[in-house]
Every structure is written in structure tokens, then in C-alpha cells.
Symmetry: C2
Subunit: 650 residues, 2 copies
Amino acid sequence: MKIIDYKRSELFMPYGYTGKILRIDLSNNRIWIDKHDELWYRTYMGGGCIGAWYMLKEMKKGIDPLTPGNMLIFSLSPIVGAPVPTTGRVCISCKSPLTNAFGESQMGGYFGPELKFAGWDAVVVEGKAKKPVYIWIKDDKIEIRDASNIWGKSIGESQDIIQSELEDSRIRVANIGPAGEKLVRFACVINNKKNACGRTGIGAVMGSKNLKAIAVRGSGNFNAKDLSSLREKAKWFNKNFMNNPSDRSLNLNGTADIIDDMNERGMLPTRNFKKGYFESASMITGEKMKETILIKNEGCYACPVRCKRIVATNEEWKVDPSYGGPEYETIGAFGSNCEVSDLAAIAKANEICNRYGMDTISSGVCISFAMECFEKGIITVQDVNGLDLKWGNAKAMVKLTEMIGNREGFGDILAEGTKRAAEKIGKDSQQYAMQVKGQELPLHEPRLKVNVGIGYALSELGADHTRVEHDTDFDLYAPEIFIEQAKTLGLLERLPNDQIIEVKVRQYYYLQHHFSMLDTLCCCFYGFAPVRAYTMTDLVEIVNAVTGWETSLWELMKLGERRWNMTKIFNLREGIGVKDDWLPERFFTSLENGVAKGKALDKEEFKNALKLFYEMANWEPDTTIPRRAKLIELDLKWLADLWLEWVDKK
Amino acid sequence: MKIIDYKRSELFMPYGYTGKILRIDLSNNRIWIDKHDELWYRTYMGGGCIGAWYMLKEMKKGIDPLTPGNMLIFSLSPIVGAPVPTTGRVCISCKSPLTNAFGESQMGGYFGPELKFAGWDAVVVEGKAKKPVYIWIKDDKIEIRDASNIWGKSIGESQDIIQSELEDSRIRVANIGPAGEKLVRFACVINNKKNACGRTGIGAVMGSKNLKAIAVRGSGNFNAKDLSSLREKAKWFNKNFMNNPSDRSLNLNGTADIIDDMNERGMLPTRNFKKGYFESASMITGEKMKETILIKNEGCYACPVRCKRIVATNEEWKVDPSYGGPEYETIGAFGSNCEVSDLAAIAKANEICNRYGMDTISSGVCISFAMECFEKGIITVQDVNGLDLKWGNAKAMVKLTEMIGNREGFGDILAEGTKRAAEKIGKDSQQYAMQVKGQELPLHEPRLKVNVGIGYALSELGADHTRVEHDTDFDLYAPEIFIEQAKTLGLLERLPNDQIIEVKVRQYYYLQHHFSMLDTLCCCFYGFAPVRAYTMTDLVEIVNAVTGWETSLWELMKLGERRWNMTKIFNLREGIGVKDDWLPERFFTSLENGVAKGKALDKEEFKNALKLFYEMANWEPDTTIPRRAKLIELDLKWLADLWLEWVDKK
């Protein structure tokens, strides 16, 4: 293996935090290591910041995301693998085949920590293997292995085969299923059969590289400057998370705990986002799941919350428990948004998504899109291979999900995502495509959660609820906790969730730094975001205990801001810009039922909010190009210079 | 007393941190109390943020600073009076008679804590008393008392008389001397006879109100949510400050400890900033002071550093020890910058300044200005009342200092500050006026400390070294400490002090937030700035221990940024803008001696640095008007709205 050093500057760096990054070029069977200095690690730390760094430095402009020139970057952060709850996610970045923009998704489970124990901070994959392969990482030993025998196999089967082939059931596998192989544009990468990097079509990129899986086993320990203070943090969390209303409800009822509340507030996306109230919502709640199909809880590395559901059904759907149970988003997408009230059918759709390896949000919203097109007569029974796509038809919903995974019949069209599907279908069907930048909306109602709506429009990833998550939760669960933690960010006032006002944009702006910071550090927001168990101070202390640094919330918030500015520049280079920051027309029309019936976003107000955000971000408001001074302020002078080069070449 | 409530919004505020602000209208003998909610205290906290809030809300535009419409705002912060070192300063704000811009200065000593123990967070004085008065604050009991018997008296005498009249030698007195009464434009307010709010002419404003002094005695305790953790912080500091190279040298040799180093580096301002090397520097160092005239150290409330010098001389100058000894700035101004090497004479000039109550920096730089005019033949012996103003003439220097305090002869002209004096003198003398926005330069060489130079040009207060203090210190004393603490702010690289480069502006920008934060919290930078004993984390923890809040360095840095944006808007309203952000021509010409001989700032580079800063600050770069989005981001929507009103009225 060749070792390449990246040095930004000679500088005084007394902490000695270092790492190494594994590089693999599948086209040429090359494996090498990138060594960066501590300054680099401290500047970019992890997650999408590392992903964006490589994509901006090395990826050619304008490539088709499904060609070998795309990169697939698995990245951790210094705190991934620390023996504390909710800091063990892995991030995958690439150019998205769904949006043609920056693609990124994160997953929990055990893969991230295992990669860390093997000694790696990131794995950067590029090129395309001549035939199906998987990568086997055993500490320093790296193999590119033949995967012909598992190509075509489901997520579960292929994981099992790899573990048995390598004779170690504790190997962690991040793999794609048939959906990824067939380049379903919202295919995902899954580890542990149920923890998914669901969004932006990362699985299709992995498929396009003929890469079935990355398997990893590490024998190293987690290195920390102050392990005992990490243990204290974990101890505190394990003892106290059940006192936190939010983490408690996650433990008891999973993420679907909020369904009833959402419905009562008229913000449960129903009938492809036309409505905010679903009459049968009580049939699909987290509590109902507990009473019916739940068999146990599971969790991620070092986490006591155990919010993951394991479900089984003996009835017609025969759900395989090894694929887990449906999350809130999944239930919203396949359930209320398709007006399906059969929880077992929803669990089946979830199982299919995990088996084929595809995103439950995009899959479900593709189906509600199809149902609405069907209702409007834009597509007919013939178009959809004989399915009766009427609202609430659980059987048709489950069948169509599987057809997407197989790219079979009408499923092949939906496998392109709603934006491309609408282009193919034509006849104004585009108005029923609930997507931004090509990615389908998560199940949060922008008319009532204004911050989330602004986030949908602005996110570099396309519609994405992790940009500013769940602003309504602040009210729903624990305002007194929110207010305490949000104040740490300088957000001193509780603001209405459903009104676009100038000071709301300020709240959005700070929260966006914050959520981006959590993502860059590969943290689960259920541990750290406002309303959660840990405080922001805990996060800073965890980073310091691991690295020996003396960082601060200032530096970490700037890290978050750095990430979204880097991804923004990537998008601008790829031609995704201000024109793409908008919501589907539907959200400027009235909600059709529920307590918030009649509620609509005001177009002018929404536009003004975006403009105000651009100015706040120190971007040129007409073009959304980050001003040179902003990039330099974020320690991204090299990127400011690169941008000038790119502009010159135009 | 009438009580007026300011409420921004009804909000959830569980900490219960509150305070009260004393209002006094001297014109109408009115006394009342402002009660603000906790949100207000958390948003503005203290210092110049409180000062600017009142000045922006209540002061009429365009007033002459020496008329009753000016306000004089003594403000503390939540942590003033806490039983920890270096958090006990008091801030005074007003419209400056020296610059016509925002005026502000801070002083240590004991006045701030005493005001806090009396129950007040700020005292806002407006109007003008019909005859000389002083204000007597005994807890809740407020009196406006006759001061005819002390008008005309020195700082020392008037303090003694007040204490004896009120029969309590522990009363703390902040007062003006004859210079303030005579409206010397750089007159100061002093407490404890030697702790001065030196800059921007606050003493003249106090004089213009016929207000001789504020005397205060408080019988309350300091309230803190977690007193024991404050005690821990103090214990740690008391035990460890001598291990910190910077605080140790401050203790041993006072602020003048740096003279030798500065000289060797060619950056000791000499001969009115023409030179960077003073041949006789070794005669005026902190060490020389210790060997000769020093009789003891003194310090401020709760502080073990005791950097204040107490000096006495029996020779011709007969320095009164009760006025303390000269600081670095004072020695630079009266010493090297006038090429005076007689330390006792410098100590005498310092004593005169404290006795008359005027700023040692402006006084000294006025004299070096006069000496250069004299050298160039622009003014003659006749013009200066027979003084032989040649470089290095200690006697003439001391005499002229006293003449300024008395506004006697040529002293009357210099009492207007170098900018106005040069206008009176004419004949191109303006080129020798080392001032920005009308305020004289502190004794730091912009050609070699680029950040300080940028700070001189940009500071809303006029030339001011507290905007970004001493960037060279990072190298001088303790790079390993600097790098550790600066990284907390996200400054990861050591940059050359003497080069204008883009990333240097980034460093300046963050450090400016930082120093402004320290000022807003009324902290002494010798405890907290990079290279100092406490870390930034300590500061956050101290604020939290006092208030019960869970603040962060993010919120506090934004507080600092809020302050300089508020003062910027004040200046813009008063017509002080982009045209006033510049250095004297001299600094674009070569240093004439020392190791850095030949060094000059590049005009184009300097201009570009300012432009880059404006963009970084999210101000319109051509006008330096903060963009509306920036003000809203800083939680200053009310100010953004006010600004629009003001613009409309134009």
C-alpha cells in the first residue's frame, strides 16, 4: 500500500490526534492510505465534511453519479466508537443519483465503531470493479474479494453468506441488496440488516461500482485521552435517559410514538400530503405496534435507548424479524400518506425495503404519488400492471414496493424517483411528486413545521428532515428541556412552529449549524439535539475527552456551518442552485382536513424567508454563492480559490 | 422611585436571573428603576451591550456629546462581583466627545463589585445638574448630593472628602478630576485614585453633566447559583496563575514587562511612531521600575495577579504613591514615544494624569505630536509658552501634561486631542496626529502587529488596542498556551503577526468576537484571553455558575459580535462610517530603525483586508452598514427596524 500525506501547513499540534483513511480504486485494484495531519482532522473532523473534502478535491465536475468517477466515502468522526451512547454512526457521501447533488446518509448499528476498531477513520471508494466484489477489512489487512456468489442476493442473505464465508459471525457488513444492484435511484446501504443509510440513493452508487458490500472486523481498542470521563458520561446517560421524555418515549414506543400527537395536531402527512389528519391513525401508532406485532427492542452500539423495533407477523404478510420494524417515517410514508391502516402490511413494506435495500421514505412517497396519479386518472390499471392503486389498498402498496425493488413493470418507473417518474408519465403528474431537488419529502408537514419546510427547500441533499429536525418536537415533548438546551445555542425565545417570521429564520439558521454539527460528528440526534438527554456541553466534553483537544461549542457549530457550505459549493459546481430551493406547489395550498385545515404557506413569505437565510449565510442572495469572505472565515480559503478557478473555466 | 418594565416577550425563563438598573436624570432630579426580564439580561448581559442598548433606544441622533442629551452608562455584567479573579470590571459608555462616536472604557479596582453588592447592574445617568453634584448609592438609597465643595479638587482629594463626609472609608468612589470638569476631551473617570476608564473622553461627559462622582457602598452579598464551583475556580487560579508565563510576568513586573521584548523586536513605538526602537528602553522597563521606584504591587477585587504598580520618588518629581504607577501604555506614550528615558518623570506624568483625571495614552501621544510639530518648526517656543519641546525633554513633557489638565496655554489646544489640535494648528500638522476617528493610538505598532493595526482602523471606539489585543503576545510569551486556547475559538494555525493575508483577517474576526465578549462580560483580558491563565471553558463555566444558565462559547462569542454590531450601528447613525476606518499615513511608510527597519504596511493590502473584514462581518462592503440579516441573526431585529426608520427620516 502506498501512503500519501496531505499537509496543509507545518504547525504546532501538541495533542497527537491522528488517523488514517483507506483509499480503494476498484477500477485498478489499487489500495492506498491517506495520512492527514491533526490540523486536517480538527478542521473537518468527520462525516460529510470529510466526504465533501474528497469530492471537492478529487471528483470531476459534471459526472453521471452512476459512473466510475463517482466516489463513495464512508466516514466516521473522532468520537465514533467511543463507549458512550449515540455517537456511533457512519456517514456515506457521494454524488447522488437521485438529485445529482451532494448525496449523504448516515446509519447506526455497529458498522461505524467496528471500522474504527479496525483502525480507520474513513474508506474512500472510487472506480468500478470489473465484476461484483466486496471489500474485506480486517484491521490493516484489506482484500477485494469476489462477490459473484452473493450478487443478486438480498441484504440478509448476502450478509449471512459473507459472515459464514469469512467464518466470523461478528463481522459487520454494510451491503446493498437487489435494489442497489439494479440502480434504484433511492437504493440504500444497510448494516446489520436493518440500519440503513437510506437517503439520496447511495446504494445505487455502490451498485454501479459492482461493490456488494464492505465487511469489517477490528481488533483494536478505542483510543481516548480520557476514557474514564467517557465512562462517566455513559453511566450518566444509561441512568438518566428514561427521565428524558423524548428518549423515554423512543424506548417505549420507538420513533412511531409521535403518530397520535402528529395526527391530533393535524400534521400527519396523509394522502400524499393533501391532508394532515388520518382517520385510522390509531391503528398505526408505536403503541399499537407494541400491542400487536412487536417482539422486542433493539439498539445501536453502546446505546441503552433501544429505539429499534423488531416485529413479526404470522398472518398474511409473514414479516421476517431480522429486518427490524418500521420507523415513524416508514409508517408515515406507507401508512397515512397512502391511507393504509394495516400495520402488518406497513411492516411488510418495511421488510421489503430492507431486504431489497431501498429507502422507505422515497419508496412510500413514490407509491402515494402513484396512488394520486391513479386517483386523477393520469395512470390507469393497465399502466400499473393490473394493480388497484386506490388509497388505502395495502395489498397494492406492498406489491408495488416489491416491484420497485425488482424494477418490475411500473415499479421500474417509480424506481427512478417521483421527479423522473413524473417526467416520464407527463400529463401534469409532476404536481403530485412530493420532492425537492429530486428527493422525496420525509413525513413532516411543512405548513405546520415551518423550520422543517425551510430545511426541505434549502437542504443541499434535497428534501431532508435532518437539516433541521422536528421543530415541533420542542413543543410536543419537553419545552422546558428545549428551552434550556436551545438557549445554549443562543436561541432564547420559543417561537411558533407554524409561522414564517424573520426571527424564525434566525432560529433555523442556528439549528442548521447545530444539526449539521451532529451529522459531521456522526452523532444520533436522539442523544444530543434539543429535547434530548445530553446537553451541548456534554457533546463538547465528549469530543475533548476523546481527542485531548479543548474544543468548544463555537468551534463545533462552525464545523457544522463548514459542512453545509462545502456541500453548497459542490452543488453549485454541479449546477444545482437557487432555482432548486423550493417546495412543491401543494404546500402553498390549503391542508384539506384536521385541526389545521385551511393552513397554507404564503409564497411571498416563504420566498422572503429563503432570501433572508441566504443573506444570513453570507451568500449572494440572487445566486446563493457563498461569498469569498464566508469561505475564508470558515477556514476554507482553498475552496474559495478552487471556486474562482471553476468560475474562470466556465 | 418609579419602576419601568421593559418586556420583549412573554417567555419561559426558568432560571430566575434578574437585576435592576438605576436611572438618574440630573436635569430634573428624577430617579427611577428599569426592570428588564431575564431574556434581556441574557441577550445583552453587560458592558457595552447594555450601554449601546440604552444609547440606541433613547439617545437622540446627532447631539453634541458635551450636552445634557448625552448619557453616561455605568454597566456591569452577571459575573462582576463574583468571588473569582479578573471578572470585576465596570464599563462606562456614552457618546464620545473625542470621536463623536460610540464611547466606552472599562476600569478595574473595586467600584464594579461594590455597585453589584449594592444591588445594581447598571446606572444610567442623563441630563445635567444645575450645580456640581455627586451621586451617593447606599444599596437602595439614592441621593444626589451637593458637590460644590469638591468641584475643582483632584481625583484624590475629592475621593477623600466624599469618604470622610459620608463617614465611611470603604465607600468606593468613581470620580473625575479637574480635566473632566474642564472638558478635556480625553478626560477619564477613575476609581480608587488609580483605576481609570481612560479612553474616549468619558470624564468630559461626566464633567459636562456637573457630576463630580458616584460613590457607592453595598451591603448585599454576591448571589450565585453555584458559589462553591466559583470558589473552586478562584482557588485554582490563585494556585496556578504564577505558572502562566503571562500572568507571572504581570505580577513580577507589571504590564511594562514587555518593553524590552518590544524594543528588541523593533516594535516599541518611539518618536511619535516613526521608529520601533528606543535606545534607552532599558531605562524604562518594568524591571527597572522594580529596581528603582516601585514600593509595592496592588491589584483589583479578588485578583491575586496584582499587576498594578505603586511607586514613589523622593527626587525632583515627588510622585504621590496613592495614584499608582505607570502601565506599559503610559510608559510607551510618555517614554519611548517622546524619547523620554527618565522613569521617574514618566511616573510623574502618570500621577498628573490620575490626579487631573485624564487618559495617559492620549495625553502622551498629544505630547509626542506636539514634539514632532515642534521639531518640524510648525509650532515654535512662543506657541508653546516657552517650553523647549525637543524629543526626550522630560521636564517639558511633565509640564505640558499638567498644562493639558489645566487647559493652560498650549495645553488648552492639546486638550482637544491631536485631531482637533492639528485642525487648529494647520500647516499639515495633521500628518503627525497619530489618531483614528479622533482617538490617539495606543502604543502598539500596526506595521508589526497587523491584527492590532486592523483593530485600530476598524474599532468603533477609534484607535483602540482592546479590539484585538496584542496579537504578537502569542509569539512572545507562550505559543503553546496560545495555540491551545485559540483553538478553542477554532483558530488552528499560528500566523505571522506582521503580514496581511486573507486568513489573518479570519483570525482577526474571531479574536474580535472574543475580546468584545470579554469586554461585554466586564472581564480583564489578563485572566481570560489567549495566553492567559483561564481557558475559555472556565469563562463559560463561571457565567453558568453565577446565573444557573447553560450558556456556551457559541452564545458568548455571539454576544461579543452583538456588541460590536450595536456600536457600529450607533456610529453609522452619527455619521461615522467607512471613511473613518483608516490608519495615519505614517504606517504606510517605513519604520525608521530597529530590527524591522523599512517595514511598512501596504495600502492596497490593508484596504483589501478591511474589505474582506466587512464582507466577513456581513456588512455592505461599500458602506459598512450591517445587513439586515446580520442584525436579525444577532437577535437585533428591533435594531434592524430602527435602522430602517432612521434611513427613512434622512
